[in-house]
Symmetry: C2
Subunit: 200 residues, 2 copies
């Protein structure tokens, strides 16, 4: 069975950087935005729409009546959103079958649970996440502390809700992961070096 | 400043084995039962009593009246228990000042917070902890699943209460640690190799 590494991460914690560098270090594929593009292609939905559903919308469109519904519009949206999750499931499973790889986000730890992935959760202290956001994005750098903190918190709440909605599990609960790593006091390069020792 | 590694661990997760092997691998001192022995020596209390206070009793003896109390017996016990914590604090701080080291348990992550230790929390799935307990202890091997599960849970609850009582923090909450490692699917030897890369 291929060696799969899944990375779940708090927004602003450096999880994406960790995933990319780990994949580079191990010389294996890294999947992140590719998943989104492939879902858009397969569902014939716009990439922006897919991103929005995956980020925030899934749970808002769930119909109040399950089964027979008197609201056909709502059902169309539900079917679209479900098709996104089904494609996400298929695409991620195909990636895991193809070769060793690193997959970031998108419930991949749960979707691939039968592949025994190394499940990593990346997190950091609030001030560390704020500092990292400001370093990488001019728009975020212009926000006040309060605004930026709120932005980060909202994105992480959306991730938690999406994960809960599709997996029934609690996002960030350490029992759902093999390693939880706090990037507040450790350099990503050091972590990559250490983790690659766990895999090889 | 010396490099200090503190290990907090769920009972049955292999945290002590991880600590000992990590110290061996890095060729630095490992402190665990030594702390207990030194506290007993400095407080002139029996080692068994010190162990009991550290495991379970601290919070039961806290007086209801704070400050002037009409119950001198209770105050003696409180003073004894406080002296245990004060000695624990002094001994652990001395160890951190002396050289690089690995310290297991005893709120060392909190006591040494100004020394920027690498704070590791070791945990595992319930069935994994049961299996490990049975492997290492004949008495535990003879218990039913229900009894053993209850034993493990009680010990972990005591550790959480002791930690909360003296630090005000939540034991096992990932935000209080740099790495949380789940030993259910990873070998201790692999983890040691990886973590030593984080330190050196």
């Amino acid at each position: 069975m291929n060696k799969i590494i899944t990375i779940s991460r708090e927004f602003g914690s450096g999880g994406r950087e960790l995933g990319r560098k780990l994949a580079n270090h191990l010389d294996i594929p890294y999947y992140d935005q590719e998943i989104l593009a492939q879902i858009a292609q397969k569902t014939q939905l716009a990439e922006d729409y897919v991103q929005k559903v995956m980020d925030t919308e899934a749970f808002f469109h769930f119909p109040i009546t399950v089964g027979r519904s008197f609201n056909p519009v709502r059902n169309v949206v539900l079917e679209q959103n479900n098709s996104i999750f089904i494609e996400q499931h298929n695409i991620i499973t195909d990636m895991a079958k193809r070769s060793d790889c690193v997959i970031v986000g998108r419930c991949s730890d749960y979707i691939l649970r039968e592949y025994n992935p190394l499940r990593i959760f990346v997190y950091a202290a609030p001030e560390h996440k704020m500092e990292r956001c400001r370093r990488r994005d001019e728009k975020e750098a212009a926000l006040t502390d309060k605004e930026l903190k709120k932005n980060i918190s909202n994105i992480n709440q959306d991730r938690a809700r999406y994960y809960k909605f599709y997996t029934g599990q609690e996002w960030g609960n350490k029992n759902n992961y093999d390693i939880c790593i706090n990037t507040s006091n450790l350099s990503i390069d050091h972590i990559v070096k250490a983790f690659s020792g766990l895999i090889s």
